[in-house]
Amino acid sequence: MGLIAELTHRCPLQCAYCSNPLALDDRKAELTTDEWRRVLGEAAALGILQVHFSGGEPMARRDLVEMVAHASSLGLYTNIITSGVLLTDEAMAALLAAGIDHIQLSFQDAAAPAADRFSGYRGGHAKKLDAARRICEAGLPLTANFVVHKQNAERVGEMIALGEALGAERIEIAHTQYYGWALLNRNALLPTFAQLEHVNGVVAAARQRLNGRITIDYVVPDYYAARPKACMGGWGNRFINISPSGKALPCHAAETLPGFQFPTVRDVSLAEIWVDSDAFSRFRGVDWMPELCRACDRKEIDWGGCRCQALALAGDAAATDPACAHSPDHHLMGAAVTAADGAPLDLVPRRLRTLSA
């Protein structure tokens, strides 16, 4: 079981494919250090084994080191998912002393001009290369994460080569998942089928070549799938996601779902949230499923797919995920692919106040 601790929505980068919600939490609403310490303690007692400090940019929180140290003292496996642009020598030394187990470093492309354009942060790619070096010199395992989309898919081979050159233990090639900002920018991001085939081929060949040396985890895009992904390993099954303001969510996009009162860790213990809350029980297991899914022999493999996607595309969070070829709404995926083909490449950058102001 894993806890995804979204410490803040603040981020120096502005990636248009961010899966954070469009309505980002303000700094003033963020949980305090003491509140996070309590949540980490409750997580360990509940049987959570790994904590993923995420965001936004988790390193934008000055108390990150203290939280890593606390999590580590509780026996939790600690992971930071970061852009790396704030990972100075001092920060690396402090995290190492605090007991950090692993760092996932994001890249926006294989090289600087394009990477900096996608992140909206000039000089960001160079800082990431420095961060990767610091992580490896510290003796920590490094995951190099690359999000791929229409505007960078051709360079997936160079991305993998960069991960190798940096000494990554693990490379994540993740097709954009269309939630939040990515959904807003879908027409400018969704790759063509030919691009998908290119990425598939490069990843398959690299996996074979690097087997036993570097693990390549590959996240495919739902829009070309015949079966849905097992989103979060099933609703309320393997993950608890805590938003910066303390809402407990079965997945980080779940705040978009209507008719839910997501409990906050400010009011309720993690154990009560996990066991008793309506929010975590509603789509847990197989009983909630539409007949189509309940009759399917894959129901405990893909768990009906993604609830947020069912809502976003089919308008009903309890429907079969349109990514499934058996869904009556599956044509919506094909329609989105058609709409994206040849569409303008302009991107709306992720910013705290782009839309609300």
């Binding site: 894993g2 049987g47 084994l49 496996y77 003796g139 395992p141 233990e169 036993g212 570097i214």
Partner: protein, 87 residues
């Protein structure tokens, strides 16, 4: 096989008191090894070779050595591909 398996950087094999079970924690991955895999992984110490691990298990468990050797090889091949073990 003379290869000496080791856990890769960032991989922790430990007993979890909440589950009352052994768990293998790796970067953004979690393995819940079955009873056989637990016995195999307990012998990973950075000095024992795969052959030595098979010998140890064959001496303690009532099963044909070939069958144990197959289990051990399959377990390490799987965990190597998934990035938890270095061979």
């Amino acid at each position: 096989m003379a290869a000496v398996p080791t856990f890769r950087r960032g991989v922790k094999f430990r007993f979890d008191a909440v589950r009352n079970a052994w768990v293998l924690l790796a970067p953004e991955k979690l393995f819940m090894p079955d009873e056989t895999a637990v016995e195999i992984l307990k012998l990973v110490d950075g000095t024992r070779s795969i052959d030595a691990i098979v010998d140890d298990l064959a001496a303690r468990f009532d099963a044909p050595r070939e069958m144990i050797a197959e289990d051990v090889a399959a377990t390490f091949a799987n965990l190597s591909t998934r990035g938890a073990v270095q061979l």
